[in-house]
């Protein structure tokens, strides 16, 4: 199970080199020239050591949609991407709106062992937006749910949203809103803009996201609650969050890797790999969210990893499902779009992809600094290489990635989950505890 590891020569957060000793699932020593008898030595020369990444927004599809992904395959994909914890969105079948389902997810994650699975509970029963789900029961269950979301759907009714924001205060919960006005986006297929006008695809206007965020931050302010905004995608949304934070409103926001890199110009070939909700936006939006992530307006990167079987993508655009897998590519895309452009450094990467998501999700034992005494959650990343992203880089059950065939920098070489090596030399370990 958990071995003793001597990791040599790792660059802590891309800065000074050090040796790290992991014993009994904990970082027991950091220094130089360290050894331990009988330990496994990992040569990390030239590798950036990051705290294990934490994804606040993943779709693991189990229970119910195991053809796309299971908790086992999804957490393997997570490990491949350097993640040691993932928050599982509740749009499963049955929906995770009861203590029973969230506890089942937790158990499956523990059995798999590749990453810590923290279930997210639905806000409303069946995610239908009509009645609150048993948020309290989910909070006190073994799964200790703190993040609630109807992701996939917007909590559109302002009264329900208000009640949800108020209710979760009693256990330090947070509502994570999928901001999308359903009336303004009926039948929408892609960002409403110059590209959609030419392609004849129904548009998803930015205002449908921004108007909900504007409403929700004001509600959060009014009831004194905290709010989290999922997959923020437009320049206008960044402005609203900036305004809200300046006003002292307790709001956090996430951006996906694909919204940091890709634009709606890619839709021109009608290749449904680029179909996602919220849709790919304009270049101006990409630049605005990058700036927002760099200056802290946007708190974290979250993948919104959304696996789909190939028949839901190899078809005409209108018939295709929304979503992209993103766990395996996330760090590399952030590397390309934010680090290589000089907008942030590795310490910031640790903040936005590990510490802050764990804090927002109230997940103990993750997002902790690389310091003695902290849990051994680590990723060792080679930032010096680059390569074409191919299907062999994908480790989940689905291959709907927009990066196939694209040059991406970097490679996760090792991931350590609670002292257990889940990825070694760039390959996911086939059987844990062997």
């Amino acid at each position: 199970m958990s071995e003793t590891l001597v990791i040599t020569g790792a660059q802590l957060l891309g800065a000074e080199s050090a040796d790290i000793i992991v014993e009994n699932g904990v970082i027991s020593e950091i220094g130089s020239g360290l050894t331990r008898a009988g330990a496994r030595v990992i040569d990390a020369a030239g590798l950036v050591a990051l705290p294990g990444l934490v994804d606040l927004h993943t779709h693991l599809r189990e229970p119910g949609y195991e053809a796309s992904e299971t908790i086992l395959t999804g957490t393997r994909a997570a490990a491949a991407g350097g993640f040691t914890a993932v928050f599982a969105m509740p749009n499963t079948s049955p929906v995770a709106d009861t203590a029973g389902v969230v506890e089942q997810e937790l158990a499956l994650g523990e059995a798999a062992g590749y990453a810590t699975v923290q279930p997210i509970g639905a806000v409303t029963v069946g995610q239908k937006g009509e009645r609150l789900a048993e948020l309290g029961a989910m909070a006190t269950s073994r799964a200790q749910v703190r993040v609630f979301s109807d992701d996939g759907f917007c909590v559109f009714d302002p009264l329900i949203m208000r009640r949800a924001l108020e209710y979760v205060k009693s256990f330090d919960g947070v509502i994570a809103q999928h901001a999308q006005d359903p009336r303004l986006t009926e039948g929408a297929q892609m960002n409403e803009g110059s590209v959609s006008a030419e392609l004849g695809l129904a548009g998803w206007p930015a205002v449908a996201e921004e108007s909900i965020i504007a409403r929700d931050v004001l509600l959060a302010e009014h009831v004194g609650s905290r709010l989290h905004v999922c997959h923020l995608s437009t320049a206008g949304s960044v402005d609203i969050i900036r305004w809200a934070k300046k006003r002292g409103i307790n709001v956090t926001a996430e951006v996906t890797p694909h919204h940091l890199l890709l634009t709606d110009e890619l839709v021109r070939g009608y290749d449904a790999r680029y179909k996602v909700n919220p849709p790919l936006r304009r270049q101006e939006d990409v630049l605005a969210v990058r700036e927002g992530l760099a200056d802290g307006t946007i708190d974290i990167v979250a993948t919104d990893h959304a696996p789909h079987p190939s028949e839901h993508k190899a078809c005409e655009w209108q018939a295709a499902a929304n979503g992209m897998v993103g766990l395996e590519s996330a760090l590399r895309v952030v590397h390309q779009s934010m680090v290589q452009t000089g907008l942030i450094g590795w310490a910031d990467v640790a903040r936005v992809m590990s510490a802050a998501p764990a804090r927002i999700g109230r997940l103990a034992g993750h997002g902790t600094p690389l310091e003695v005494g902290q849990p051994a959650q680590l990723a060792l990343y080679d930032a010096s290489i680059a390569g074409v992203f191919t299907e062999s880089d994908l480790h989940g059950r689905s291959v709907n990635s927009p990066y196939l065939g694209r040059d991406l920098p970097g490679r996760v070489q090792f991931t350590v989950h609670g002292g257990v090596v889940t990825v070694a030399d760039g390959a996911v370990v086939a059987e844990l505890g062997a």
Binding site: G200, Y270, E311, A314, W317, A319
Partner: protein, 321 residues
């Protein structure tokens, strides 16, 4: 020409070539024997996921006049069957040995998906995809305008300086899109007239002027006025309040037709809502090109099938357009 998917990417030389070959095709249609042996042995499949008797018949006539074998495949593409429909259907056609697939589909981009998927090696002709494009309609419209203007002297000519007004639901019209790109490629000046709710938000980037007032647009004395069919269902999504108001503000009634300069033509892709977007006086006047558009449609489609199928073909699947 490997596929004909849109007019946005149709260069001027190829567009003129299609129009000129259509002239030759039209000439053969006035002979005693209208049938040509040119595409004998070729198989053209009409793959129609949307009902459209008119367009399908037109393509069928065009293919048969060139002695091609025609197979009509009326497939129902429903959101329930999702992607299986298109891919499985395409692979069935490949197994049948289709040389060309004429596709009409309710999803924008479906013909392009078919052409680039690698599922088939046949040439793809877009017969209308969602609200995206309807290239053969725009080609027959350009042909009609040119023919009315230059008569027997049409060959080789483009539409430089000819002013065209397109009226109606631009937002949802594949005919409007295809015409805007093709007409401007051929040098015509295009004005779009529509209620503000029925033009796309970024239409200012298009090579066309946008005007909300029909009378203002007609006061400039355009050479051709093209009326688009208005779908009454749009009323229910609040695009305009009533039929009556739409017709009054954007309908081509007898008075507006009378005010057009001599020589101006009135066009409609059909089917017409008589009394709504176009009055009977307008539809039946000598200015109306509605019927010759149908005839020209066959010539254009003959030209397209000829250019797609007659010469040596690169039979690789998928790949470049």
């Amino acid at each position: 020409m490997r596929h004909l998917l849109d007019t946005k990417n149709l260069d001027r030389a190829t567009a003129l070539r299609i129009l000129d070959v259509a002239e030759d095709m039209a000439d053969t249609q006035s002979r005693e024997v209208k049938k040509l042996p040119t595409l004998r042995g070729k198989t053209v499949v009409n793959l129609f996921f949307e009902d459209s008797t008119r367009t399908r018949i037109s393509f069928e006539a065009a293919a048969k006049r060139l002695s091609a074998d025609v197979i009509n495949f009326a497939a129902k593409g429903s959101s329930v069957s999702k992607g299986e429909s298109l891919k499985d259907t395409a692979q069935t056609l490949e197994a049948i040995g289709a040389d060309a697939v004429v596709v009409r589909h309710p999803s924008s981009g479906a013909p392009q998906t078919l052409a680039t998927s690698g599922w088939i090696s046949a040439g793809v002709v877009n017969a209308g995809d969602g609200t995206h494009e309807h290239p053969t309609q725009a080609l027959l419209d350009a042909y009609t305008i040119r023919k009315r203007r230059f008569g027997a002297d049409s060959r080789g000519r483009d539409l430089s300086g000819i002013r065209v007004v397109i009226v109606g639901d631009v937002l949802h019209s594949r005919v409007a899109r295809s015409n805007v790109w093709l007409l401007s490629t051929l040098g015509a000046e295009v004005t779009l007239v529509s209620p503000p709710t029925l033009v796309p938000q970024n239409v200012s980037l298009w090579p066309a002027k946008v005007v909300y007032d029909l009378d203002q647009a007609l006061a400039d004395g355009p050479d051709a006025v093209m009326m688009l069919r208005i779908q009454l269902e749009r009323m229910n999504a609040a695009y305009f309040p009533t039929e009556r108001e739409y017709s009054r503000r954007w309908g081509l009634d007898a008075l507006r037709v009378a005010g057009l300069p001599d020589g101006s033509i009135v066009m409609h892709p059909g089917p017409m809502n008589r009394g709504l977007e176009i009055s009977s006086e307008a539809a039946d006047s000598a200015r109306s090109t509605v019927l010759e558009q149908v005839t020209n449609g066959v010539s254009i489609r003959m030209a397209v099938l000829y250019l797609l199928l007659a010469g040596e073909r690169d039979n690789e699947r998928g790949g470049d357009l």
